[in-house]
């Protein structure tokens, strides 16, 4: 049980960080109370993990062969990477950190599923692009429908508010379904957990992170989305949720933050405005490139440290 702590910590930090991508705008703009958002997120994350978490777990566990010790090493390496990148102020994807750590273990084992890795990297490219395209289509289609409704000011307000709650809950569901693999797939690969137990423990640890530490992150990260008008914020949340859900069907854990950035860019394109600064984009690019490399390095370093032996007299 002790060896699961690395995964639980990773799930906790994932929940604390990524809940802001689904409910950040609703909470920071005071459309929704934090506790309502947190409880809804935690419930839907767990449901997503239990109902649809299996595909991602299968993909990640198939990347390399793992012993229990290596599973712990990869979990800790991913958690350390997320912490280091966060301290450096770079946007970080837990999915990339986990895969980077597994690459490190694969190098050590001299065994790696290259086709599986290719599929994952392709999805990493596809996440922001998918978010962008889906946001463009949603904005146009839902926008046309919304205009036809000819709602009063209060009705429009109620509709968008409900949309943000439903969209946020769907986003939380997609987050759980897609990202639970990051948390506990390595333990399934090491034969320590069944897929159901992995989804349950992973979903609970992400939910725990949301309930205990996501408020602060929501208040800081979510405020970036508040600058969008309410309809655009709704489109961003829905586009992010749909993108992440699509990759859940593909069976590849992806970054919700990157899907959000893609969606925000898409909304900006439709409206003809600059929604993300060049500096933010550059930081995301650096984070995107560095996260797997740093995680690979840290996994190798931790594994090396674990195998050091003290030889008296030398």
């Amino acid at each position: 049980m002790f060896s699961l702590l690395g995964g639980i910590f990773l799930g906790w930090s994932l929940g604390a960080n990524d809940a802001s991508n689904v409910f950040g705008s609703a909470v920071t703009s005071r459309m929704l109370k934090f506790w309502t958002a947190a409880v809804l997120s935690a419930i839907f994350v767990l449901l997503g993990a239990l109902i649809e978490g299996q595909a991602g777990i299968e993909t990640l566990k198939g990347l390399t062969q793992l012993t229990l010790q290596q599973a712990v090493v990869s979990s800790v390496a991913a958690a350390v990477t997320v912490t280091v990148m966060t301290v450096l102020g770079l946007p970080v994807s837990t999915s990339q950190a986990v895969v980077g750590a597994l690459i490190g273990i694969g190098i050590l084992n001299q065994h790696f599923n290259i086709s599986g890795l290719g599929k994952i990297v392709a999805c990493w490219f596809g996440t922001p692009v998918g978010g962008l395209l889906i946001a463009v289509v949603l904005y146009k289609v839902v926008g046309a429908f919304y205009n036809r409704l000819n709602l009063t000011m209060i009705q429009s307000d109620i509709l968008i508010r409900c949309g943000l709650i439903v969209g946020g809950s769907y986003g939380a569901y997609a987050l759980g379904a897609n990202n639970v693999a990051n948390v506990t797939a390595v333990y399934v690969g090491a034969g320590m957990l069944s897929i159901f137990m992995a989804a349950l423990i992973g979903g609970l640890s992400i939910g725990f992170g949301i309930l205990t530490y996501s408020r602060k992150v929501m208040e800081t990260v979510g405020s970036k989305l508040v600058r969008l008008d309410p309809f655009s914020a709704l489109v961003v949340v829905l586009a992010e949720a749909i993108t992440v859900h699509i990759y859940t069907f593909v069976g590849v854990p992806v970054s919700t933050s990157q899907a959000v950035v893609g969606a925000v860019l898409g909304v900006g394109m439709v409206k003809g405005i600059k929604t993300v600064s060049t500096r933010t984009l550059a930081n995301i690019g650096i984070g995107w490139f560095l996260t797997p490399l740093v995680a690979t390095g840290i996994a190798l370093a931790i594994d090396f440290a674990v195998h050091l032996h003290y030889i008296p007299g030398v």
Binding site: Y139, N147, D157, I158, R161, P230
Partner: protein
């Protein structure tokens, strides 16, 4: 069916319609005071009507505060909160004008000279007409949303008409043989009446922006 979930929003809507109703009542009292006593500010009803106008103006403030309190209780999206607050604050300035005009007449014992009366009446009537259109526009914003742009154009025309009358009245005042102090007094009154349609025009344009913001 799910109305109970949006009780606060419904309350805000009801309060906005109450505000409009109260605005109409205040406008009626102001109009009665101005038209019935314009030639004689010491007529028996003037004090009463001025007090009543003040009373309903204060009631408008109370309704506005109630709406603000509800909105800060996390009802409505932040953008809508801001739009409604600014809209009501902007409309409230008109009620403030009504009260100030009556107090000016009462406090300064102002009598509009006969030769200015026809044009002043025209300015007053057009200003009141613009207020009626503005209230219709606010009601439309919170109901069908149809015809807001047309109302903006109508109000704009009335505002231009009022400006034209105002300028002509000012010329008449300073071409007259009235004492300088009286000229200044009457000029101030005419400017204040003229401000009504200017403020109505600002509210009307704000309403149009609020509507445009909600078109995706």
């Amino acid at each position: 069916m799910f109305g109970f979930l949006f009780k606060k929003q419904q309350q805000i809507e009801t309060l906005i319609f109450n505000y409009i109703k109260n605005f109409r009542k205040t406008q009626k009292l102001f109009s009665d005071a101005f038209t019935s006593c314009k030639a004689d500010p010491f007529c028996s009803n003037f004090n009463f009507l001025t007090d009543q106008t003040h009373k309903y103006e204060s009631r408008g403030d109370d309704i506005r505060d109630e709406i603000n309190d509800l909105m800060y209780g996390k009802a409505l999206l932040p953008e809508s909160r801001e739009d409604i607050m600014r809209l009501i604050a902007s409309a409230d300035k008109i009620l403030g004008h009504f009260e100030k005009i009556l107090h000016m007449i009462l406090g300064q014992h102002l009598v509009i000279p006969d030769f200015l009366m026809p044009k002043t009446e025209e300015l007053f009537t057009s200003s009141m007409e613009s207020c009626d259109l503005m209230l219709k526009q606010i009601e439309t914003l919170f109901s069908t949303q149809q015809g807001i742009r047309e109302l903006v154009a109508d109000i704009d025309l009335l505002e231009s008409h009022c400006d034209h009358i105002e300028r002509s009245l000012l010329r008449m005042i300073f071409d007259s043989t009235l004492e300088l102090a009286r000229k200044m007094e009457v000029k101030e009154l005419i400017l204040m009446v003229g401000d009504i349609s200017d403020q109505v025009d600002r509210v009307s344009k704000r309403i149009n922006i609020i509507r445009m913001k909600r078109i995706v």
